[in-house]
Each structure stands twice: as C-alpha cells, then as structure tokens.
Amino acid sequence: MDVNEVLLPGVGLRYEFTNHEGDRVGVVARRTGEFELIVYADDDPDEGRPMLRLNSEEADTLAEILGAPRIAERFADLTKEVPGLSAGQVEVRAGTPYADRPLGHTRARSRTGASIVAIVRGEDVIASPAPDQVLRAGDVLVVIGTRDGIAGVEQIIQG
C-alpha cells in the first residue's frame, strides 16, 4: 500500500493513503505526540474534513486495537505479572503437517496445556481463534503457557 509522507515543518508529519473504498485518509502526527485523523472531501481535495483528534495515550490505545505486533507486546506485559506464565510466538512453516488444516486438529491445548490466543496472518490478527480456524503456512501463533508448554506447541506445529 502506498502511504504518502508530507513534512509539516515545525508541526510534525502528515501521512496520506487511499483506502479500498476510495476515501483519501490523512493522519497528522504532531511533534507533541497528538494525532489528528482527516478524510478528504470529494469536491475539494485540498481541504480535509477533520474527523477526530487523539492525545498520545488515546493514539496508543487505538494503535493497540489496530496493530498486530502490539497484541503480542501486551501479552508479554501480562505474563510479567503472572510468575511461571510466559508468551511465545510459533511460526507455521511451509511443509508442516498442520498447514491448511484446522487449528483443532493440533490438539495443542490438551497435549501441552498452552493456549493459542491469537493468529497473526500478514497484517491481520485473528484474536481467540476457534478450533475450526484453518492454519496457513506463514501464520504466527501467539501462545500463552508455561515455558515447556510453549516448547511443546512448537514441536507439534513443526511436526
């Protein structure tokens, strides 16, 4: 996807892109850490319609909701608070027996005690995947459990 970066000297940066519906979207990132979201009108491409303004904390929250890598980060924070529990990432490599088969077939939880809490697929995140969710080569599984449990899931997935 093409994202245009426009310098706003003294203020910050503006990112612009067009979404699949053809809306021109702008994000102003101010140096102060605040953000502004804008949609450009069809009749005047020069003038943005301000949608909302976010302070840095709100922007972080929004990014956490939207951003895949951040989910794993949050799990990492979570496990710091529970001794003995940790989070790991397991990649589904091409050629493993479970590529293109439902998640349930791995019986990962019953065999290792560790839970697969999310699947990261490219830019997308499938949170709390159901047992019938089909795995694909290249998926990254976010696993929560004991250290041994996570190693066990890795072994199962790698075949």
Partner: protein, 390 residues
C-alpha cells in the same frame, strides 16, 4: 532577605490581569500578544497604573524573554524540514522577501528614518509570526489541508532568514559600520552552519553533556548554557538573541524535545514580560500620531502576504480556495517584529510605537481574516457519505 511587598503585589496583579486577557484571547482563538502589548501600554507613567517596583523586573524579564523566544525557535528547527522547504520553496521565499520587506522599507523612508531604521521596519513587515500561525492552523484544523506545508515552509525559511538579518541589524544599531555589520553577519552565518554541522555530527555529545534524567537539572543546564552563549554573542555585538538561536539549533533529537517541554512555561512567562516591556516603553502621546501610518502599512502588507501565500500554495498545486487560505494565514505578524524593535535603542522613538501598533492590528486582524475566508469544516462527514451512497 528583604521582601518587597510592592514588587510582589504589582507583579501578582499584572500576572493575574495577563491571565484574564490571555483567557479572553484564547476564547476567540486569538493570540494573547496584542493584549499583552495593550496591557503594557496602559501601565507605567501616564497610564492607568504606574508600576515602579515591577517595572524593573519586567525590563530584566524582557531581555530573558527575547533569549528564550529565540532558543525555542532554534529548538523547533530541524535540518530535514529546512532542506525540504529549501528544495520546494526558494522562489516563494524570494517573493515573500521582496513583497513584504519593500513596503516596510518605503514606509521607513517616507517617515524620514535613517538606513538602520528603514532596515528594521523592512524586517518587521517581512516576518510573519510562526508562533501565531502554527497555533492558528492547528486550532482551525487546517493541518491536514494541502496548502499547509507551503505555509509552514515559508515560515521556516523566514525564521532562518532571521539568522542572517538579526546580527546585521544588531551590529548596525550598535553604531557599527557596514563592513563591521557584514563581518557580524558572516560570523553569525558561519556560527549557524557550524552549529548545524556540530549538531549533525556531534549533537549526541552535546546532548549527553546537557542531558539529565531530572527535568530540573535539564532546565538549569540548558538555560545556563543558553544565557552564557547569549552573553558572549551580545559581547561581540551580534545580539544575545542570535546566541540563543544557535544553542537551540545545536540541540537536536530527544534532548530538544525535552528541553522544549521544560522551557515552554518559562518562555511563556518571560515572553509575556517582553511584550509588556515593549508596551510600557510606548507612550500613548507618541502612539496616536503614528496610528494612520500603522494602519496603512498593515493594510498594504496584509495584501502582500496574501499574494505571497497564494504564490507559495500554487507551487504545490493547490486549488483556488486553498491558495486564498494560505495567503490569509500568513498575514499575522507577532513576536519577531517586536524582537526586531527590541534590538534597536531608544534613539528610534518613532519605530517602537509604530511597530507596536502595526503588530497589534495584524496579530488581531490576521487570524480573523483567515478564519473568515476558510469555510467552516463539516462535522459529520461519515453520516453524509452513508446517505449519499446508500
């Protein structure tokens, strides 16, 4: 320690009044600078309340205010933004300089000022207020508009031109000859380049020297170093303001961000003292006969800024309405026109009142005009779209 009751009381009342004025200005999305000037004008000898005890503090605060204003300007600066502006908008900067400095120079000549006075007035009409305008664009939610980078680029190039202009004026105003002034400019431009290169290559060393996790320590170190460099610059007659600007340029990255955060409240306080002091130095009797000249100059240079902004925006391929918005946004003059007058001594008794009145008019009129020319943004774009497509 002897505590002066009069000083505390006068200062307290002044700050309280400034706070009320500032709130009032913000309510109408205006800059508080013109109201601070007005407050200064109404105080002092012959005003509604003489403030003998606080006057001295205001005068000292004013010189620190100039230093902090320029330090903040330097801290805002980034080399990438400057080079990007330079690449696209050198012709805009040239148009800006010619269209807006010439009316000031002509007015100075008509008023019978000498060469230094003419130069000062040309500078005062040339420089838009980057502080007022950047804030205004944010308040009016125009940061997303296509004309905004052009407006901000023009402002960055103007601010940079100050690095050459201020030492030139400072040396000439202190009675130097033209070749001394040229030398002063060379020294200052050389120092700016050196500061740039130093910050680019060794900025992290300087950052490490001044940086401290404790914000109090950081403030003391940055402020101390700035005042020392400012004093040295003043000593060689290139103006304390330029010294502070250099320190700001040399600080980059994280330390610049943190320094901005800890110094902003200080800058606001001392800059207010500076605007007050300028107002104080103007007496109403001097001001009245110069009002027509100030209004005429304001009208002419509002139009020339409009043309400048339209030209700069047209270089970025902006449409008709956007060009108009860019032009009107640039009209506001403010802190740096006042800084220029602050550099001159008392011998230019006409210039102080003239520029104070001029800035007052344009700092109020500029934001109002640009607000009126931009159509109010629609607040419910999503629903409208859904109706249109569904």
């Amino acid at each position: 320690m002897h505590t002066s009751v009069a000083l505390l009381l006068e200062l307290g009342v002044i700050l309280a009044v400034l706070s009320v004025l500032g709130t009032l200005a913000r309510r109408f999305a205006l800059s508080p600078i013109p109201l601070y000037l007005l407050a200064g004008l109404s105080l002092g000898e012959g005003g509604i309340a003489p403030v003998p005890a606080a006057g001295e503090f205001v005068q000292i605060g004013a010189s620190i205010g100039v230093v902090l204003l320029l330090l903040a300007l330097g801290l805002e600066f980034s080399i990438t933004e400057f080079t990007a502006s330079l690449r696209r908008h050198v012709p805009s900067a040239a148009v800006d300089l010619v269209l807006n400095a010439v009316p000031g120079a002509v007015a100075g000549w008509l008023l019978g000022l000498d060469a230094v006075g003419v130069l000062a007035l040309a500078g005062a009409t040339y420089i838009s207020s980057s502080g007022i305008i950047a804030r205004l664009l944010g308040d009016l939610r125009r940061l997303g508009n296509r004309e905004t980078p052009a407006v901000l680029s023009v402002l960055v190039l103007e601010d940079f031109a100050m690095a050459a202009y201020l030492p030139l004026l400072a040396v000439l105003a202190s009675g130097g000859t033209w070749w001394q002034a040229a030398l002063g400019v060379l020294v200052a431009v050389g120092a700016v380049l050196a500061a740039f290169i130093a910050s680019y290559r060794w900025g992290h060393h300087l950052g490490r020297l001044l940086s401290h996790p404790d914000s109090e320590q950081l403030m003391l170190r940055v402020l101390g170093m700035t005042l020392i460099v400012a004093a040295l610059a003043e000593f060689v007659h290139v103006s304390a303001a330029i010294g502070a600007f250099l320190v700001g340029l040399a600080l980059t990255g994280e330390i610049a961000d943190r320094a901005r955060a800890v110094l902003t409240p200080l800058r606001d306080l001392f800059a207010a003292a500076f605007f007050l002091a300028i107002g104080l130095s103007v007496s109403p009797e001097e001001l009245l006969p110069l009002l027509p000249a100030a209004f005429a100059l304001a009208a002419v240079t509002a139009v020339t800024k409009l043309v400048t902004g339209r030209y700069a925006a047209s270089r970025d391929g902006v449409g008709r309405r956007g060009r108009l918005r860019a032009g009107t946004a640039l009209i506001a003059r403010g802190e740096f026109s006042i800084v220029i007058i602050g550099l001159l001594g008392a011998q230019y008794d006409k210039l102080g009142p003239l520029v104070a009145a001029y800035v007052f008019v344009l700092a109020v009129a500029g934001p109002l005009i640009t607000r009126l020319t931009g159509a109010p943004p629609s607040r419910a774009p999503l629903r409208e779209r859904a109706d249109a497509t569904g």
